[in-house]
């Protein structure tokens, strides 16, 4: 019932936007800008491009709003537009999108060996920043899944729908991404720095 009410509200909102109500569109942007910024900021490393891409995402959504058939949640659709807009931008920038995934069978034990020793990071107390840095080095799909799952609290099913991947693959990538991050952080920080 709640979902139907939410869907009815979304329909009414989109109808107002299609009728030319720019305030309704501003409300739409305000409602979904957090989701879009999570995706764009996490997938696009170049800070100066991020805000423009967020704008492009919403303008693309506005142009195709009339084609939205409510076959999925609006948030799922918005996230999909943002994801593919980022992929398109990264392709233009000639950023390798899929290469790293092919190395996913590399034993996780070798990850720690690539990292610097804890002493070298003793002065760096900003673990959140270090975590963001490590995430930025991961394959695009890992970054996207971590973002949607942990920041936007989406289910495997929704993420699979957005990224057009099997649900099992989403779960597998998510688990592997977390394992990688945990190992990398433990290789750089002492456990008591991280977990206390």
């Amino acid at each position: 019932m709640v979902r139907e009410e939410g869907m009815a509200e979304s329909r009414a909102q989109i109808e107002r936007i299609l009728a030319g109500d720019t305030k309704a569109f501003a409300g739409f942007v305000a409602q979904y800008q957090r989701l879009v910024s999570h995706i764009v900021f996490r997938l696009i490393d170049n800070e100066s491009d991020r805000e423009d891409i967020c704008q492009d995402v919403f303008l693309a959504i506005y142009r195709s709003l009339g084609d939205f058939r409510f076959e999925s949640k609006v948030s799922t659709w918005v996230a999909r537009v943002a994801y593919y807009r980022c992929l398109s931008h990264l392709e233009k920038m000639k950023v390798a999108l899929w290469d790293d995934i092919s190395g996913e069978n590399q034993p996780l034990d070798t990850v720690a060996a690539d990292c610097q020793k804890p002493d070298e990071y003793a002065a760096d107390r900003d673990i959140s920043a270090r975590l963001r840095d490590e995430i930025s080095k991961m394959p695009i799909q890992y970054r996207m899944i971590l973002t949607l799952y942990h920041l936007d609290e989406m289910s495997y099913n929704e993420i699979a729908d957005i990224m057009e991947l099997p649900e099992g693959t989403v779960k597998s990538y998510l688990f592997r991404a977390r394992k990688l991050l945990k190992r990398k952080l433990l290789a750089r920080y002492r456990p008591e720095e991280l977990w206390h």
Binding site: V29, Q33, L59, L131, L186
Partner: protein
Amino acid sequence: MALAHLSEDRIQDYLDGNAGPEQERAAAHLETCGACREAVREYESLYLGLADEAGFDLPADFAASVAAKLAPQPEPRAWFYKGIIAAVLLLAGTGAVYFFVDLSVLFDMVNKGLALETCLDTAVSAVRTFLSILGIQTNLLVFSGLALLMVGLLDRLVFAFRQGKTLFHV
């Protein structure tokens, strides 16, 4: 019987609440196994870090600035042409009325305070005279009007295409 240590996948399933029937067994194991509790604690901290939203802020006026990009902008060229067309029509209309209609009759009637009915009759007959004079070139006028309409429509279509909008939202 004590369970073997929880695998990392099982720990993640447990923390995600997706362990299904294993959820309770995993919880029971954690009560007795310090090593697994420590591993769970590491993942819990990682989950907290992953949910940290720092660094994702857009400007406070972001929504308004995106919406402002949609507001129909008056096209300077369109207003310029509309102004010229209105001025030309006004001048042409005024000139035509002075040229074809004897306004002195109307002024006389107003000055003499004649009945409204008489004024209307006189006005209608004046318009009829005006139309009969124009009737000689009616086809030419209709053709010119249609040609102008087509040019205007084409101009609007090209402009709409360039702006990426529909014809009626230019």
